[in-house]
């Protein structure tokens, strides 16, 4: 191939103001320096029109990464070339300081609606950098936060900064991250561990996968900083085996980090030693629970154990262990670089920063969304994700996956944070968000989640093992038209008991989808039980197909019926034998005359 491979693209503002500020000399100096370092072929220089930031000229932009340097003088050029272009380390002092890390993403994608209302901290590099190229990450101030911590901060100061940021665990419960770090740091032990929980298992959630696939180094950097802060020498990433690409990228990132001396002994010339190992999950949702996850890493059945003791006291191999999830770790470098004081300006009173949601279900744009805490559900669903397709009506939004609840329309203006969602009867969870329209049956939805949790129950504690199974059975019979009076009360009674008596978070939250749908959509349950009707038409056992007067007697339905439930003479109105019909809906699909009524 004769296409020149350019590693970096430099864009120098060629506007009048910049030229006045000696941008031409800077350009010349750049060319000389590039030549000196033999970079002429791998770095290209482009001139741009006025960027409009004349007071800060000359402006030099380095891509990939959209690093914007301001007031660049000839004397700065050798340093920029040496540090940024050769050693992939941006020159911090020259970066235009208002340019927060998170902003870069929007420099590139900000003109698209989907991205316009977002704010990217955890996912700041996703889609911008080549995740398999550490240089790309380095060029975006990668590992600078680590360097800052190692060179200028004591572990205590790092913890203080994280505490001050107000960051809370993004895995679900929202425990203050800094406090967790402090507890673990306070333990007296020569062996400690840092764990990244990447066992994302909520159906419909794929934040962690995307974050790792898009920017694995951020997670590594966050873990290293955590390791430094609490005094751990080893980090473990526990990731689902179902994510082969994410695993591959992590492996590559770890190897590159080792090559660059970012993992191993004497990291960045300090006496900090740290290494990271990947351990694979094997298809057990409960392993997202921290004590189950620890058991799994230890090579056991992934069953939770009662807490206390908490992992910060007695964790992996019985040693103090700090566990955070992918998104939490990804926030750490930004907090250190942009500062806790900036970070805690984002978000609400109790919940700082942003949250990533995986929006799925009945919306125009499904995908990952990172928004400041305090954004409303309506903004996410309608402004960012484009609302409900096909002119259907919004019915509910389910947050928090199988542990969360279903919120009806009147909660749409809820400003999302840990407290408000809990108050509304759902949870933040790890960030699954499923939008439901009028075509979905809430009882079926609750049943779907219960099927999931009872299948994923580890089987250790009675309420979860036996109770979710019974709830699932009751929900099944309701959707099959066998519901009995009192079933709703049984579901509530079991649900409350399971919630309050189960051993771990899985069981304690498993009834939420049922309890919240009963709370908000009780009438749908009642219709199923009393009237044997499913208004969404989703519960096939409750459907009936009939042939109306539009029938011309073409016979298409009769031919397609698998059970010969349709009788009629050609060119005369046909009839469906209800006692034979299995409600497969095939007649409904083939009828060209709208002659079959589904009710």
């Amino acid at each position: 191939m004769d296409v020149k491979e350019t590693r970096y693209k430099l864009t120098l503002c060629d506007g009048t103001a910049c030229i006045h500020n000696h941008s031409k000399a800077v350009q010349q100096a750049l060319e000389t320096e590039l030549d000196k370092h033999g970079l002429k072929d791998s770095v290209s220089i482009h001139l741009s029109g006025c960027l409009g930031m004349c007071t800060k000229g000359p402006i030099l932009i380095v891509n990939p990464g959209y690093i914007m340097y301001g007031r660049v003088q000839v004397e700065d050029v050798p340093e920029i070339v040496e540090s940024h272009l050769v050693n992939n380390k941006a020159v911090t002092r020259l970066i235009i300081t208002e340019d927060h890390l998170y902003n870069r993403f929007f420099r590139i994608f900000g003109d698209v609606d989907f991205f316009g209302k977002q704010m990217r901290i955890a996912l700041r590099n996703c889609g911008i950098i080549d995740p398999e190229n550490i240089d790309n990450y380095l060029s975006l101030r990668g590992y600078e936060a680590l360097a800052k911590a190692l060179e200028t901060m004591t572990p205590g100061q790092v913890i203080e900064e994280v505490k001050k940021s107000g960051l809370r665990g993004r895995g679900g419960a929202g425990f203050p991250t800094g406090l967790k770090w402090e507890f673990t740091a306070n333990q007296d032990s020569d062996e400690k561990y840092v764990i990244c929980n990447a066992d994302e298992g909520d159906p419909g959630a794929f934040m962690d996968r995307s974050a790792i696939e898009g920017d694995p180094h951020t997670v590594l950097e966050g873990m290293m900083i955590g390791g430094y802060a609490i005094g751990a020498g080893k980090g473990i990433i526990y990731i689902r085996a179902e994510y082969p690409l994410a695993i591959k990228r992590l492996e590559k990132a770890i190897a590159s980090a080792r090559e660059h001396g970012l993992l191993g002994e004497n990291i960045l010339g300090s006496d900090f030693a740290f290494d990271i190992e990947i351990r694979l999950g094997a298809g057990a949702f409960v392993c997202g629970e921290e004590t189950a996850l620890i058991h799994s890493i230890e090579g056991h059945r992934g069953m939770p154990r009662p807490r206390p003791p908490y992992p910060s006291v007695k964790g992996l191999f019985g040693k103090p262990t700090l566990i955070n999830n992918v998104e939490t770790w990804a926030n750490i470098p930004v907090i250190l670089l942009d500062g806790a004081d900036w970070f805690n300006t984002v978000g609400t009173e109790t919940s700082k920063g942003t949250k990533v949601f995986a929006v799925a279900g009945r919306v125009q744009n499904t995908g990952l969304v990172e928004v400041p805490m305090g954004t409303t559900l309506r903004e996410i669903i309608y402004d960012i994700c484009g609302g409900i397709p096909n002119g259907k009506r919004f019915k509910a939004v389910q947050t928090g996956g199988p542990s969360g609840g279903c919120l009806p329309e009147h909660y749409l203006d809820t400003e999302i944070d840990y407290e408000s969602l809990a108050k509304a009867g759902s949870i933040m969870g790890s960030g699954g968000m499923i939008v439901i329209d009028e075509d979905s049956c809430m009882v079926s939805l609750a049943r779907f989640f219960l099927e999931f949790t009872q299948d994923e129950s580890c089987g250790k504690c009675t309420p979860c093992r036996e109770g979710t199974k019974r709830m699932y059975e009751i929900l099944t019979r309701i959707t099959e038209g066998q519901g009995q009076p009192g079933d709703i009360e049984k579901l509530q009674r079991l649900g409350e008991m399971i919630k309050h008596s189960s051993l771990c978070g899985l069981g304690q939250s498993a009834p939420n989808p049922v309890l919240s749908t009963i709370e908000n959509f009780r009438e749908e349950y009642e219709e199923h039980i009393q009237d044997k009707k499913c208004r969404a038409g989703q519960c096939t056992a409750l459907l009936s197909y009939t042939i109306n007067d539009k029938c011309v007697g073409c016979g298409a339905c009769k031919r397609v019926c698998p059970v010969n439930a349709i009788e009629g003479v050609r060119k005369e109105k046909h009839r469906i034998l209800q006692e034979v019909c299995i409600r497969c809906g095939q007649c409904y699909e083939v009828c060209k005359f709208d002659a079959i009524t589904k009710a």
């Binding site: 159906p203 794929f206 094997a282 949702f285 090579g299 059945r301 799925a360 979905s440």
Partner: protein, 168 residues
């Protein structure tokens, strides 16, 4: 029981020897099971017996672990594994119908392998491809936006490829 391929066994033994020298060697049990499945497509009992000796873990413990995690197959599986995503998005968009078509087309229930040992049918939790729901994954490859017809077409592609590779 069929004899296990010797070269694969050698690879596995080397892996077990390597991890058995590490700190907390027992904690690598799940890694060994992953390696086993990667090599053989399932976790044969003979391997669990060997792992028991190599890592000094009682077989009951290994059995408990192998049966706990749904990722591990304890029986030989077909050449291709079809995982039908039953995640929420796929469910909402008709995963059940896709599953039904597959059951009918392959003539097997979930968790079973077709008689010709070409396919094993499995249900999967969310595969993280909700944007193109409903999806199935055949081995490592994801197929999205499926309906009954498309699903059958995909199966037939694999059948054709298998038939051709037999000819060669």
């Amino acid at each position: 029981m069929t004899e296990l391929a010797q070269d694969k066994m050698t690879t596995l033994r080397e892996f077990m020897a390597e991890v058995s020298n590490k700190d907390y060697a027992e904690s690598y049990l799940i890694a060994v099971l992953h390696k086993t499945q990667e090599l053989f497509g399932y976790v044969p009992r003979q391997v669990m017996d060997e792992a028991s000796e190599a890592l000094q873990i009682p077989t009951a413990h290994i059995w408990g672990v192998a049966t706990f995690y749904h990722y591990f197959n304890l029986e030989p599986i077909g050449r291709h594994t079809i995982s039908v995503c039953m995640g929420t998005a796929c469910y909402v968009k008709g995963a059940t119908q896709v599953l039904d078509v597959l059951k009918k087309e392959l003539g097997v229930e979930v968790g079973k392998t077709t008689e010709d040992r070409l396919f094993t049918l499995q249900e999967a939790r969310c595969l993280g491809a909700c944007g193109i729901a409903p999806v199935i994954m055949i081995d490592d490859k994801i197929y999205g936006e499926l309906d009954a017809k498309k699903t059958v077409e995909i199966i037939n592609q694999y059948r054709k490829a298998a038939a051709e590779s037999r000819k060669v």
